[in-house]
């Protein structure tokens, strides 16, 4: 009997006890990398040389091999690093020890730690965090804590910050086929900060909101990188009775709600599946004698493409009987994924098998083109009872053996409910197994780097530069009448000081806020190089608006002019557009002039007639006189004429 699936869109998160914490990685805007003098942010598709390495697990400071480390050693990958001489030196190749840590990066991390209200460490200790997946050639990431603890207000509650660290970025993966994985090293060792929150979020949407909020806090320093890949998140999810599962490297905030919901449901389904297995009387002992059997001879004449390909490549077919699991392998754990896909994920990563189908089961064999009769023979060969399931893996003999062992191991882990692991994002917004969740055992001190004292003087200098927290700025900006999205944009904008100065000088906070928080971005998106405009010109234009010399509505047009001719002073820009000041008497004369040369309106309705006249008049006063003033003068003239 199939276990009923819960639709992630309709799940009751409170009832499921959803808990979610996030780890936000944000690249820092520094000239150089964290532990060497290579330029940061220089990406390319070119390489000058390759280096090949392997990773072995080692012992941590506290004495044991780490679980992840062992698993990855099992996978035995050949790791190739592509080296571009412009972006890497011998440090990234792990052929030179680290140089002194980049203080600019530490300083930005401290600045963000202060903004999050963290307790700042007295001494900064570089430690090594093991990553045996090859994404870092040393086999570990150099990382160090700048702050511990902290709080962030979100919708009337406080989100706890666990810690903030500054660390070196990893390589970019180029390909991962079988036992060969290839990385590009240009991104390697670029400085980034990692902010880790408490699991204080209880719905998928909250997780996304908090990521966004923390991202804005970091961007408000003006010292972090923007653009694709500059910010990546890990999302930790659990439900009541489940396990903290880490979804790694979520590239975009918009994916977060779907991924969190999907993981919550997956955990619930795995918990339900455990209940069902226990109800059926299955225990870990049930699977103690499950062994893979080489059944390749059965497929020698089978005419399906994948079996032919496997045999042609000299591969083998290994099958294993899973007692009592006949109806359970097809348990849905996601919109499109079943428990058999969970097995497939393990096989792909640990046995390095990547030819689909990864795992063939009783439920999929028919559709894969295996004749029912053949499968029946296979089941008979394995002495299956009607309630037993069969899982079949195929590939190079050692890998296929590893695969069936891993399948059995994963089935036994069902009794844990949700096994500890990290998961990767797959296309379609679902996740798949990445690796066993590593513990603190994989951390040990970096003997190559001396500790760095964080002095009171250093912190005082940073505190002096500290800005109002973004959540307070949001409130202040909304209080002057800006809509939330504009306020949030302006609060972290580098143009905020400009806005503040102009407002202090008497400019209209809302009109200027809309310009700098909304129109500006739109103009930039249209391709206007607004960055070229000297700050002095901007200040003069805003002062002119504050003084009533030019209307706010004319400012976008003037910004366009200024972007095209950044050398022109503000006054010249105004004059070129004929935006010289105008007295009311001049305006009244101008209105009379225009009216004289206008054709009579066809409508007899007074309101329509006035709309017609105003429409004709306004272009003559664009940017020089407010609509209400023109209207008042028009009314006076008409009244006088009547």
């Amino acid at each position: 009997m199939a276990i009923p699936f819960i639709d992630p869109d309709c799940a009751d998160w409170q009832a499921l006890g959803l808990m979610c914490g996030v780890e936000i990685h944000q690249q820092l805007l520094t000239q150089r990398k964290l532990f060497c003098r290579c330029p940061a942010g220089l990406y390319s598709h070119h390489h000058d040389a390759e280096v090949v390495r392997h990773m072995r697990p080692t012992l941590s400071e506290l004495g044991e091999y780490d679980g992840t480390a062992l698993m990855e050693f099992k996978t035995k990958k050949n790791i190739t690093y592509l080296l571009d001489r412009r972006s890497v030196c011998t440090y990234e190749m792990d052929d030179t020890p680290p140089f002194e840590v980049n203080r600019e990066a530490v300083e930005i991390a401290l600045e963000i730690s202060l903004a999050l209200g963290s307790n700042i460490v007295g001494e900064f200790h570089v430690i090594r965090k093991q990553y045996l997946d090859g994404s870092i050639p040393t086999g570990f990431q150099r990382t160090a804590i700048t702050g511990v603890g902290g709080r962030l207000p979100y919708r009337g509650k406080q989100i706890g910050i666990i810690q903030l660290s500054v660390e070196e970025d990893s390589c970019r993966e180029v390909s991962d086929r079988g036992h060969d994985i290839v990385f590009r090293t240009d991104r390697l060792s670029m400085p980034l900060v990692e902010v880790v929150t408490e699991p204080d979020m209880h719905t998928p949407q909250e997780a996304a909101d908090v990521v966004r909020l923390i991202g804005r806090v970091m961007r408000s320093t003006g010292r972090v990188r923007r653009g694709a890949g500059a910010s990546r998140q890990d999302v930790n999810v659990s439900v009541r009775g489940g396990t903290r599962i880490e979804i790694k490297g979520v590239p975009s905030i918009s994916l977060i709600p779907g991924l969190v919901a999907g993981e919550g449901v997956r955990q619930k389904m795995l918990l339900d599946m455990r209940e069902e297995m226990l109800r059926l009387g299955l225990t870990p002992q049930t699977f103690a004698d499950c062994r893979g059997v080489d059944v390749s001879y059965l497929f020698e004449r089978e005419e399906t493409p994948f079996t032919r390909a496997t045999l042609r490549a000299g591969g083998r077919f290994m099958a294993v009987r899973l007692p009592g699991m006949r109806d359970l392998l097809s348990t849905k754990v996601g919109r499109t994924r079943t428990f058999a896909d969970e097995l497939g994920g393990r096989v792909r990563v640990i046995a390095c098998l990547d030819v689909r189908p990864l795992v063939v089961t009783d439920d999929t064999c028919h559709d894969l083109g295996i004749r029912d009769e053949r499968w029946r023979t296979l089941r008979k060969k394995l002495r299956c009872k009607a309630t037993d399931a069969v899982a079949l893996a195929h590939g190079p003999v050692v890998d296929a053996q590893c695969a069936v062992a891993e399948i059995v191991a994963r089935v036994v882990e069902c009794f844990e409910g949700v096994p500890r692991e990290t998961r990767q994002v797959r296309s379609g917004g679902e996740t798949d197994f990445e690796r066993i969740l590593p513990g603190p055992d994989r951390m040990y001190p970096d003997t190559d780097s001396p500790p760095l004292a964080v002095t009171d003087e250093w912190l005082a200098a940073l505190a002096a530069r500290r800005r109002t927290p973004v959540w307070e700025l949001d409130e202040q900006l909304m209080a002057v009448g800006l809509p939330r999205d504009v306020a949030e944009n302006l609060a972290i904008s580098p143009r905020l000081p400009l806005w503040q100065k102009a407002v202090d000088g008497g400019a209209d906070p809302k009109a200027l806020g809309l310009l700098l928080g909304m129109r500006w971005t739109a103009l930039v998106r249209r391709g206007l190089p607004l960055k070229r405009i000297p700050e002095g010109t901007l200040r003069d234009l805003f002062a002119a608006a504050a003084a009533g010399r030019v209307m706010y509505e004319a400012l976008p047009m003037l910004l366009e002019d200024a972007a095209v001719a950044p050398e022109r002073p503000a006054l010249e820009l105004l004059n070129l557009r004929g935006l010289s000041p105008m007295t009311q008497a001049e305006a009244a004369r101008r209105i009379s002039d225009v009216l004289e040369h206008l054709a009579r309106p066809t409508s007899v309705d007074p309101a329509a007639r006035k709309r017609y006249y105003m429409g004709k008049l306004m272009p003559h006063f664009f940017g020089r006189l407010a609509g209400v003033t023109v209207e008042r003068l028009f009314d006076e003239i008409m009244a006088g004429a009547a």
Partner: protein
């Protein structure tokens, strides 16, 4: 509480820890002026300052808390850690050869030391098997820890002692000997052992690592497997250095002990044979000689041990404007031999002449080598060379300066007779002087040239 319970802490930090009775390994909460910090108090590196307390937090990270900020320390428990390589008995296979591994220290197998934050050696067969189980596929291993010193602290006593142990291991029936050694001075030791242990019936392989074995990317395990292969099944019965060929995890090279030199402070592929070809390429389980010119394994050959050494020998690395007082100091301090690393073909400046003449008159044995490392000391080419020879400085052909130093010390340990010293010095024991420089003996590729760029792209380095 003894100071040992506060390992590495001094001054301000020590008194704060004592005040709150919080020794190392205490699981604590520290209230400080910068907020609260929780974790286990770790021992502090003795070279670090006395103003901070190091905590290992639950996340695995270490942080330092300023001692002057501490307002209170609450201890919850004590969690002492013992760093231990999982020790498993090295399995014995009667089908496999017996290799003796002599440990002198260095990073080939090592662990972290909390107090110094440094890497310290660990070496029993059980630990080795725990760390590199693949070794059991190659050979049976017996280990003996001779010293536990970093290679900069290795000297003549260690060379003599190691040579004697090699002799003993061979007498004891070893099919090969591995010497674990720090890499910095490995080429001095390999030269010394080449002279001290002659007529080897089986291989003697020196091995180390450029990345300590506490790192996942360490070259230690692969170097050990290569060395075990060369020692137990390789055909070459000489003293060799076995280290990475390229920086990639591809293959190792066996370098002749008298022609090898460490050429980069940190690269994995730091060892190079100079002025000749390496002896062989090596993979786990396979040795592929690159030359025919080597001494073959022969169990019946009798090893001769000549482990004597005269310590009063120096290398004089010449530089422009060197003053004679340097040479005078060597004379005054009773030095018996001087190896000069001269410029170009073997030159020093004129102001040194009187001092060199004086040294010669005092009976000091002097030999000229070249600081270019490649090429021969050929002192007939210029007047300078002829002048210097007239003061008794003997050109020592293409022997490497470090090897010449070791060889002169070894010779003077046996004889002081000038003619005999000169004869022995110029008569090669094992290729430290070669009659010919092969045309591919000097290959230092120049980066940036288009042809080298395309070569670099086509090979794994």
């Amino acid at each position: 509480m003894s100071n040992d319970e506060f390992k590495g802490y001094r001054g301000e930090a020590l008194s704060v820890l004592k005040e709150y009775a919080a020794p190392v390994w205490s699981d604590v909460t520290i209230a400080s002026a910068r907020g609260e910090f929780k974790g286990i108090i770790l021992p502090r590196s003795e070279t670090d300052d006395e103003h901070h307390i190091v905590l290992k937090m639950a996340s695995g990270y270490n942080v330092g808390v300023r001692a002057c900020d501490v307002q209170a320390i609450t201890s919850h428990a004590r969690k002492e850690a013992h760093y231990k390589i999982p020790e498993k008995e090295f399995p014995y296979d009667p089908q496999k050869s017996k290799v003796v591994l002599l440990g002198t220290g260095g990073t080939i197998a090592s662990r972290l030391d909390y107090r110094t934050g440094a890497v310290i050696p660990a070496f029993s067969p059980g630990e080795l098997f725990g760390a590199v189980p693949e070794l059991a596929d190659i050979c049976n291993i017996e280990t003996k820890k001779l010293y536990a010193v970093f290679s900069e602290n290795i000297g003549p006593d260690h060379w003599m002692g190691t040579a004697a142990e090699i002799f003993k291991a061979i007498e004891g029936g070893a099919d090969g000997v591995i010497v674990g050694h720090g890499t910095d001075t490995m080429h001095y030791t390999s030269a010394a052992l080449s002279f001290m242990c002659q007529n080897l019936p089986v291989p003697v392989v020196l091995v180390g690592s450029q990345r300590s074995s506490d790192r996942p990317s360490s070259d230690a395990a692969l170097n050990l497997r290569h060395a075990a292969t060369a020692a137990c099944m390789g055909p070459i019965s000489e003293v060799m250095v076995c280290m990475f060929g390229p920086t990639s995890d591809e293959y190792g090279l066996l370098h002749r002990g008298t022609r090898v030199r460490k050429m980069h402070s940190s690269y994995r592929s730091t060892f190079r044979t100079l002025g000749d070809r390496p002896l062989a390429k090596v993979w786990p389980g396979k040795v592929e000689p690159l030359t025919e010119d080597f001494v073959r394994r022969d169990r019946n050959r009798k090893c001769t041990l000549m482990n004597k050494f005269e310590e009063k020998v120096a290398i004089l690395y010449y530089y422009p404007n060197m003053q004679p007082d340097i040479v005078e100091a060597l004379i005054d301090n009773g030095y018996k031999g001087i190896v000069i690393a001269g410029t170009g073909l073997g030159h020093v400046n004129k102001p040194l002449y009187p001092a060199l003449r004086k040294a010669h008159e005092k009976g000091i044995h002097m030999f000229m080598t070249v600081q270019t490392l490649w090429g021969y000391a050929q002192m007939f080419v210029y007047d300078t060379g002829r002048d210097i020879m007239s003061f008794g400085v003997v050109p020592a052909a293409n022997i490497l300066p470090e090897v010449a130093y070791v060889k002169l010390g070894w010779i003077l340990g046996q004889t002081q007779d000038p003619e005999e010293v000169r004869r022995l010095m110029l008569q090669p024991v094992n290729h430290e002087i070669t009659e010919r420089e092969p045309i591919d003996g000097y290959l230092v590729m120049q980066g940036g040239l288009p042809e080298i760029d395309s070569f670099m792209k086509s090979v794994r380095r």
